[in-house]
């Protein structure tokens, strides 16, 4: 059941371990999956604060009716850049960082399959995000047509100044970076698993990332194609999306959302994987329904390709299209429901303790489910004619991103940092961080449901006075949530620098080694791990079949 560590492995390390390069250059030239994972995670954390600062500008402007702080065009730049930075700079890279750290550890691989490409995909990400951020300082400001970059708006000279081509090249770089990362992850999982680990023995985190990587490879080129067409429409007089030249602006929406819908699952599937990893450890039970979790993940990924036009119920689809996309979208509730039920069943009759990673994971299950409920509501096409493009949808996707993806990223930080660094975080401050976050995130986003239902459109810098109260409450929640994340920053730094100083065991969490391989390695982790693969892997979830 539990893994037997190959003692030989660690003795071997002593002899020919060439550790990290000296000095700062280590971080530039590194091909070590742990170093690159660290780079990704720290970069994502930095971008989380950059994107968060933009959200603070938005919430400050919306604190009261009237225009107080920013110009409407800059406000639109903020909503656009907040989304792009959070999606492409924070959430996606954070999960790639986790994948870098965890996938080799969890499958018993010495490193990623393509270490040099790994380094390159990180630095391309940095280049892409810097290019995007540089548009903030350009004449005419950063892109302000929404992160969806809909034409004709985004092509209009009076709307977007010089920023467009830079934003598009940035998307290209980010896309290449993501595709390289995805190829690396797939190659690693398929080729570098411990010989005894079958696909159905893999931890759920590895499974969800495998499926996510396929989604990335499938849709990033689609997005790159869509924005390249924008580029040629703007600069080479093509008319892909220009009705006057025989094109169709709605075509862009179709292409964008063919990318966009899988994209949102790219941000949530690894989230499911982490939750499925953390909850069993603190429930002291095997994950319930391992096989159905894998199938549900696969089904959700498949469905994500055939539901894109539910983002476009009001663009004037034919009736058959409205009905098809409504039915297809509703079906997603089934595999998603299975996952929520499985997590609940995993907790059921467990022996739970509530350390910070578990608290964040439980909050994830509850609050993600709330986001799922509103998602189900919006799948009902006629109702979406009311919900679409209001604060209701803003509340919906923030529930699925912030108290879901972001909370799980935090949970992952608390869960694995002690293993990675050998230092324990301060549990008291961790719990404080959790409680402030979970309360403020609801104060921030729950009232936005009311605003949307009452008729407040999204992406407006100023609003009618009947929306004032809930906007103010939402902003207060936003400020508290934003500031409280500095606690997380403090905890991360503190833990890296020694944490509470107590000795951390190899397992870190009670019986964690029953669940996954990384806990059988020494703490803190040596620079090189699994130079010889483990001979036995934990397969607790498939007890009966072994």
């Amino acid at each position: 059941m539990s893994a037997v560590v190959d003692e030989h492995d660690h003795h071997a390390d002593d002899h020919h371990d060439h550790g990290p390069a000296k000095g700062l250059l280590r971080w530039v030239i590194t091909t070590n999956h742990k170093d690159i994972g660290t780079l990704y995670l720290l970069f994502a954390l930095a971008m989380f604060f950059v994107g968060g600062a933009m959200a603070m500008v938005i919430r400050a402007e919306l604190f009261e009716p009237g225009l107080q702080f920013v110009d409407p065009a800059f406000f639109n730049s903020m909503t656009t850049m907040h989304a792009l930075v959070m999606v492409f700079g924070a959430v996606m890279p954070a999960f790639v960082g986790l994948a870098n750290w965890q996938i080799p550890l969890m499958i018993g691989a010495a490193d990623m399959a393509l270490p040099r490409m790994n380094n390159m995909s990180f630095w391309m990400l940095v280049a892409g995000v810097l290019l995007l951020a540089s548009t903030l300082f350009m004449e005419g400001g950063a892109p302000n047509g929404g992160w969806t970059l809909y034409p004709p708006l985004v092509l209009q000279p009076i709307t977007v100044g010089k920023a467009l081509p830079f934003a598009i090249f940035s998307v290209h770089l980010l896309g290449i970076s993501s595709i390289m990362g995805a190829i690396n992850i797939i190659a690693t999982i398929f080729n570098m698993r411990a010989p005894s680990m079958k696909l159905m023995d893999m931890p759920l985190f590895v499974w969800t990332w495998l499926i996510t990587a396929f989604l990335l490879i499938a849709v990033m080129p689609v997005f790159a194609g869509a924005v390249t067409m924008l580029l040629t429409d703007k600069f080479f007089h093509t008319s892909f999306f220009n009705a006057a030249g025989g094109g169709d602006p709605v075509l862009y929406e179709h292409i964008f959302w063919f990318f966009g819908h899988p994209e949102v699952y790219i941000m949530i599937l690894p989230t499911f994987g982490v939750a499925s990893t953390i909850i069993p450890v603190f429930a002291r039970k095997p994950l319930f329904g391992y096989a159905s979790m894998v199938w549900a993940t696969g089904s959700i990924a498949f469905l994500s390709f055939i539901v894109w036009a539910h983002h476009m119920f009001t663009v004037g689809l034919p009736l058959a299209g409205e009905l098809y996309f409504m039915y297809a979208t509703m079906i997603i509730a089934v595999p998603t429901g299975v996952k929520v039920f499985n997590w609940t069943a995993t907790m059921w009759k467990g022996a739970m303790t509530f350390e910070t990673p578990m608290l964040f994971s439980i909050a994830f299950v509850v609050l993600f489910t709330m986001g799922g409920f509103t998602g189900l509501m919006m799948s009902i096409a006629p109702s979406d004619f009311q919900y679409h493009d209001t604060y209701f949808i803003v509340a919906h996707f923030h529930y699925t991103l912030v108290p879901a993806s972001v909370f799980i990223l935090m949970a992952a930080g608390y869960f694995w940092l002690p293993k990675w660094t050998g230092n324990m975080y301060n549990e008291k401050i961790g719990q404080l961080h959790f409680w402030i976050s979970v309360v403020s995130v609801n104060v921030l986003f729950f009232p936005q449901h009311f605003l949307g239902l009452a008729g407040m459109p999204r992406r407006i810098p100023d609003y009618a006075v009947q929306f004032a109260d809930w906007n103010m409450i939402s902003s207060i929640g936003g400020f508290i949530f934003g500031i409280s994340q500095l606690l997380f920053l403090y905890i991360v730094i503190d833990t890296i620098r020694g944490g509470t100083g107590e000795k951390v065991s190899d397992e870190v969490w009670e019986d964690a080694a029953k669940h996954s391989l990384e806990w059988t390695l020494p703490t803190p982790l040596p620079y090189h791990t699994w130079t010889t693969p483990p001979s036995v892997v934990p397969t607790e979830h498939v007890l009966d079949s072994h």
Binding site: G145, Y150, D248, V338, F385, Q386, P457, I473, H541
Partner: protein, 373 residues
């Protein structure tokens, strides 16, 4: 614990108190004034209750477990990890619920997409940043802009939005429709994608440049219904509201008659005092120019040229006039303005917004030959 409870109760009371301060505030979707909006409301409530019901079940089980199955209470973890029966049940039941939901949803969708046998048709054209309405049955045609009071307040730092009735939800010329008639809308756009939404009617529909969308409404109750553009359409996306007044047929007929008469009236080309020219000019400016060139004429750096100190604005008025009517690749042509409006606007632009050309133009000067007829 008690303190936490008090704090919670306090927060709720505060929320209620704040809510009571604005009587027109709502938490839930509104029922609306059309059959389809009521059907959508019913769908919304049905799915909401289903979600609440499932939520109580799932979260109930979870919190029961969190409370009872904890290590600190000495609970020993069971080691089960699958149960085919349970898994089949919780796959099938949600599927059945969804099928049950799909039936009323399909009915409402059919209703929503039915635009046949309408009594009249209105063409709605989205513009940056106002709506253009054209009654296809009787040639009534007008623009509907954000009202001047909201326009001034949202562009003036420190002005109080609460001083304006229906702040940002009021227009200079509302759309007027008769009650108990099936009104068909054809929607399109002249520039970027907009979306026309009146919540009381139950739907929004995108206005796409180069394409035409259809929708219809049948309003039962006379009244004033307000909405907004719901597709990001540039810097003033938040400032192009919709107001529809639904009237009894008699009142509507009278409105049509009056409006058609007004539409036929020639603009008054008689001379005006400087003060009149400037005041009227400001109105024309607020309606047509302010969205891009801004309230102080400063434009937007990198995007839109300033009028203040502009060579074109302060040069020969004839060339400014020509420029205005012809437009450029960036600026739409304003040939829709009549001689009176042009004279007022030119005078205002050349002698305000930081410009001091010192001339004044009268409508007769800016009139084109065929304006006099």
């Amino acid at each position: 614990m008690n303190k936490a409870k008090q704090l919670f109760a306090g927060l709720i009371l505060m929320a209620l108190g704040l809510g009571a301060a604005h009587a027109d505030y709502t938490l839930n979707l509104m029922k609306g004034v059309t059959k389809v909006s009521n059907d959508i409301y019913d769908l919304h409530m049905l799915i909401l209750w289903i979600c609440v019901f499932i939520g109580i079940g799932v979260f109930g089980a979870m919190f029961y477990s969190i409370y009872h199955h904890r290590k600190s209470k000495g609970h020993v973890a069971a080691q089960f990890h699958e149960n085919t029966t349970v898994e089949i049940i919780w796959t099938i039941i949600p599927t059945l619920i969804l099928v049950g939901m799909a039936i009323p949803a399909t009915k409402t969708m059919l209703e929503l997409s039915d635009v046949d046998k309408s009594d009249m048709t209105i063409q709605v054209t989205g513009r940056q940043w106002y709506w253009d309405y054209k009654y296809l049955d009787n040639d009534i045609h007008f623009e509907s802009h954000l009202d001047e009071a909201s326009e001034k307040v949202h562009r003036t730092p420190g002005a109080d939005p609460r001083s304006v009735p229906h702040y940002l939800l009021n227009v200079d010329k509302p759309l007027v429709i008769p009650v108990k008639k099936k009104v068909r809308f054809v929607l399109t756009s002249m520039d970027v994608i907009h979306s026309w939404w009146v919540p009381d009617f139950g739907w929004k529909k995108d206005a796409n440049p180069g394409f035409i969308n259809e929708a219809s409404t049948y309003v039962e109750k006379p009244g004033t219904y307000r909405g907004q553009c719901t597709e990001l359409c540039g810097r003033d996306h938040g400032f192009m509201p919709i107001v529809v007044i639904a009237m009894e047929q008699v009142d509507y007929d009278a409105w049509v008659k009056k409006t058609l008469e007004q539409q036929k009236q020639k603009p008054d080309l008689s001379d005006q005092t400087t003060q009149q020219l400037m005041t009227h000019g400001e109105s024309v400016y607020l309606k047509n120019c302010v969205g891009c060139h801004q309230i102080n004429g400063a434009g937007v750096p990198g995007l839109i040229p300033a009028l203040t100190g502009s060579a074109i604005a302060t040069g020969k008025w004839e060339s400014l006039d020509g420029f205005l009517r012809a437009g450029t690749s960036k600026m739409p042509k304003f040939d829709k303005l009549n001689a009176k409006e042009v004279a007022e606007l030119l005078t205002y632009v050349r002698n305000n917004l930081g410009n001091k050309v010192g001339d004044e133009l009268q409508p007769k000067q800016t009139a084109l030959p065929d304006d006099d007829e």
